[in-house]
Symmetry: C2
Subunit: 208 residues, 2 copies
């Protein structure tokens, strides 16, 4: 899966009938993955929403990852599941869903070190910068720790948290597989252009 | 699975270190299945608790069913999962967990009728009597509807809700596969005897 630009969505910020047009727009802008984060919704609503996202992402050639809920990820035939430090441990996810790509969130060096034995497919590292999109986020990781984590692990690293057009060039300076964003795209009027402006090649950057 | 006597447990009413002794006691009393109902617990606590229940039920020859969470049921290698009208639809449960026994809750004739196309392995019917163990329970089903549902479906029916030693004989008068209880066992000092007193053969009844 091309992890370059992942956009996190939730039913509060993107209604069911907006999904299809949204996926087309962000795909045009260069997004590569959509992640559904819908922790508090009833499961049937989550499944309905996830099925719609599955269809739209498939149509647009986007990857599709479900946050937290392995059962929902399996039920809607997502490509992957992203788990946090308090979610189902990666080895159990592998045991029940061997075909899913598994991402794991870490917020600091210690968690990144511990994550290696869990053997996820990629690490979500952050919040890199302070963020208001995730109220229970850890203290910011910062780019120095991001650099140290990239040097320490040999799986893809996705930087997440507080990344927007003002600081994205800074993040692309590290050997990351990609970035994940919420507000930078979801709060923008023009979501296609918001995605485009986040990709490294559109900022005159060469990826490391 | 012998569905004769199912006991529903949760971490609030049975602590982790009580699980082993509890399972031994209810097995001696004639319980056949334990169901874990822990909707609001963090998933890692749910898994830890479920793993303990899995081991204890296996040791005692009891079946083990997890309520609601298909991912937890799979992760702890339960024998089955029990879903409600608002949980993951049975066909999706089958698709992601083909080896799990699947129970489905219905509270009236209409739901029982609709349940037939979902094809669960058994129906949980109730609450038969008023209950205080499940705060969001539907209006009582009553024994007349229980009888009608038994006549309508050809899969095992498990009666649940408000069943205790004062009314259990009444329920055993219908062609049910078994009963499921919470308070009747969990509130009893002597859980072994509480189970024993609920079984039809110990009440001088012949099962239909």
């Amino acid at each position: 899966m091309d992890l370059t630009l992942q956009v996190l969505v939730s039913p509060e910020k993107l209604t069911l009938d907006q999904i299809s047009g949204f996926c087309a727009a962000i795909a045009r802008g260069g997004a590569t993955v959509v992640q559904l984060r819908a922790k508090t919704d009833p499961i049937r609503a989550m499944i309905r929403y996830g099925q719609e996202l599955r269809e739209a992402t498939r149509n647009e050639g986007l990857g599709f990852i479900v946050n937290d809920r392995v059962d929902v990820a399996m039920a809607v035939k997502a490509d992957g599941v992203h788990v946090g430090q308090d979610d189902m441990p990666v080895p159990l996810v592998r045991a029940i869903a061997p075909n899913l790509l598994v991402g794991l969130s870490v917020s600091n060096l210690e968690e990144a070190h511990a994550a290696r034995v869990q053997n996820p497919d990629y690490l979500g590292v952050g919040p890199i910068f302070p963020t208001f999109s995730k109220l229970d986020a850890s203290a910011p990781t910062g780019v120095d720790q991001l650099a140290q984590i990239c040097a320490m692990v040999d799986i893809p690293v996705v930087a997440i948290g507080g990344i927007g057009k003002l600081n994205v060039s800074q993040v692309w300076g590290y050997p990351i597989a990609g970035i994940a964003v919420i507000s930078a795209v979801m709060s923008a009027e023009d979501k296609e252009n918001a995605c485009r402006s986040l990709r490294p090649e559109n900022r005159g950057l060469t990826r490391r």
